[in-house]
């Protein structure tokens, strides 16, 4: 017995010194203080957990790991990732918009997840989210948020014009919008039947893609070598948007931001606008706001985009990083939901992309607003994870806006877009 004592002591010494070296993980996100620190009531009690609480829980059960959360406003996140990288100070874990992920993957910045993580994603997450995390055929992270678009309408304005139901087909939308637009005698518009989301690339392009997919069209070839916007289906889809302008249902001065003030009857919107609607309509919210699938051309369809969580290939702690990610997104809590799903649904107010999470948060996901977005996930087609995605979308946005303003026909606008986009595709594929 005594002879074993020394080797045992030595072994103990080795084990304790190993666990003294803490692994530090840096986790960069684009969430606000509330979403990170948690939401507290007047007395300071925690009402909704923030990312910090989950991280603290993890650190308690994994004392050798220290996780530092850094948050940067969404508009600046990509810039921050780039600048950190060039200075040689990358984070370990990122939350990434999928198109940014494409650039990172092509530059070798992301660490390829192990086979078990990739399989888990394929099996356990909804289709558009899986596509969103797939770049060049492989899965590069775990999806944490999936967004799509639906028709949001003002029930009262519709009722005042005699409409009891929202439009189901696009042509119904066009005729309803025309009837719902009220003009003043001096030429100004009192309120609009419809308003398009505008101001940045996704705002204009995503709803257009929804129509394109609804018209059985395609944006790009599967190998990303050619842009297909000169096809009949694409032109018809843009013309369908232009019908709204031609028939007087909207114009370029209409703005979705005036919907909460009751100045717009219908719009195509994403899940993140819920709170503004609740604030704008206050106690009249439930009786005013309605959500329905986007009126379709040939078949129901909507467009989606995804955020996923990934690990930097230059990280010195890849294994610990993936362990934390698995704990947040793949492993479930006793109630069957994932922790990331809970954070997304309860605090951030987004749709968790894991199938088993979708029925675990009825108050948030099955409510008046979000329920339709969740139901439409089966019709959601993820935007293509193409290289230079933002540049391509900006080109398309600008051409669509030209068409909206009547300066180009749908055909000409899409032809011009295709020409410029093909050049970029050639450069990359």
């Amino acid at each position: 017995m005594k002879k074993l004592l020394v080797p045992i002591l030595i072994l103990l010494l080795i084990f304790t010194s190993v666990s003294f070296g803490k692994t530090k993980l840096i986790f960069t996100v684009h969430w606000s203080d509330y979403q990170v620190e948690g939401v507290k009531d007047e007395k300071g009690n925690l009402v909704f957990k923030g990312l910090k609480q989950y991280v603290e829980e993890y650190m308690k059960t994994h004392p050798d790991v220290e996780i530092e959360i850094r948050s940067v406003a969404f508009d600046e996140l990509l810039k921050k990732i780039i600048i950190d990288h060039t200075a040689g100070l990358p984070s370990d874990i990122y939350v990434l918009y999928s198109l940014w992920g494409v650039e990172l993957v092509r530059s070798g910045i992301l660490d390829e997840p192990s086979a078990d993580v990739q399989n888990a994603v394929r099996l356990l997450f909804v289709k558009p989210a899986v596509e969103g995390a797939t770049i060049d055929g492989k899965i590069w992270g775990v999806p944490i948020e999936v967004d799509n678009y639906a028709l949001v309408y003002n029930k009262k304005l519709l009722a005042s014009a005699g409409f009891k139901k929202p439009p189901r087909t696009w042509s119904e939308l066009v005729s309803m919008a025309a009837k719902l637009t009220k003009r003043n005698p001096d030429g100004s518009v009192a309120y609009y039947g419809f308003a398009f989301l505008a101001g940045w690339d996704s705002a204009v392009v995503h709803p257009y893609l929804a129509l394109l997919y609804s018209n059985s069209g395609e944006f790009l070839t599967k190998d990303f070598k050619e842009c297909l916007l000169d096809r009949k289906e694409a032109i018809e889809a843009l013309d369908a948007e232009l019908e709204l302008f031609r028939k007087g249902g909207t114009d370029t001065s209409a703005s979705v931001w005036n919907f909460p003030a009751g100045k717009v009857a219908m719009m195509i919107m994403a899940p993140w606008y819920e709170t503004s609607l609740k604030i704008g309509f206050k106690d009249k919210y439930a009786e005013t706001v309605g959500v329905a699938p986007i009126p379709y051309l040939k078949k129901p369809a909507t467009c989606g985009y995804t955020w996923f969580i990934g690990v930097d290939s230059a990280s010195k702690n890849k294994k610990q990083a993936w362990d934390f990610i698995k704990w947040m997104t793949i492993q479930t809590m006793p109630n069957g939901a994932t922790r990331m799903g809970e954070l997304m649904a309860k605090n951030i107010g987004a749709i968790p992309p894991r199938r088993s999470d979708l029925d675990k948060f009825p108050d948030e996901l099955n409510d008046l607003y979000t329920a339709t977005f969740v139901k439409e996930l089966i019709h959601t087609i993820q935007e293509p994870n193409v290289a230079q995605g933002q540049e391509i979308k900006t080109i398309l946005m600008r051409e669509i806006v030209e068409a909206w303003n009547g300066r180009k026909t749908a055909e000409q606008a899409l032809k011009d877009a295709k020409k410029k986009i093909d050049e970029i595709l050639k450069e990359n594929y």
Binding site: I26, T28, H30, S32, D33, Y34, Q35, V39, F48, E68, R70, S71, V72, A73, F74, E76, K79, K80, I82, I83, T86, A87, G88, L89, W257, N258, P260, A261, K263, P271, W272, E274, T275, S276, I279, G280, K282, K346, N347, I348, G349, A350
Partner: protein
Amino acid sequence: MNRNVKNLLWETFRYSIIIFGAFWMILPFFWLFSASLMTPQELLAFPPKFLPAEPQWKNYIEVVKKIPILMYYKNSLIVAISVTLSVLLTSSLAGYSFAKLKFPGREAFFRFVLSTMMFPVFIFLIPVYYLMKLFGWLNNYLSLITPFMVSGYGIFLMRQFILTIPNELLDSARIDGANELKIYLKIIIPLLKPALATLAILTFIGQWNSFLWPLIVTSSSQHLMTLPVGISRLSLAFSTTETQHLILTALVLQVIPTVALFLFLQRYYIKGFVLSGFGEV
């Protein structure tokens, strides 16, 4: 009588022009203060409301409770004051040099200083960030202060003002045996009061409201965050709580010190120059 009527017309014209312009100048500023006291619902109204139904003073209490505003104030003050003092010093020294001292290469170097203002900000972001990392200044006020310590704009401004100071003043001091440093301290600086006050206001405000660089440099060191960066963290894409309206309230808190500084420095906008006593002009 004719002269008095002319005067009266002129004064009426003067004040009506001033008041007409003042309305347009103050509109957004006024709206900001008004909006900071509105409820979130009032802020979503369209057309925008200009007066709240009931001023929500509690917005201010909420902001102070929800974000560490004193820490942000402290950081912003340290950075803005350091940069302003440094710019005032380096600009007046260099401005004097360019305006009144002759030495080889003076004009060429002045043109070089001008050209430093001609590059867009974004090309400095990556290299300077890299330098900050190299020097080990990233988690330090130094990374917020040093890239701004010298300003071509300030140097140019000081030079132009110092040019208007008559050479005779300086020459008579030189004949009396004063060295350049003494001339700078005893003659130039006192005569530059309005110019220094102006440069101080503009530099301070520029630093106080600066967002992009502090954001990039402090995201890993929350204890260094300045006011604009801190306030941006109130912004939410989704939200289950209503805090968007607090941003306007926080912005008012950001604006107040700049207003205070402006009003405080107005005391230096006095007639800076009395010639009698300096002999021949």
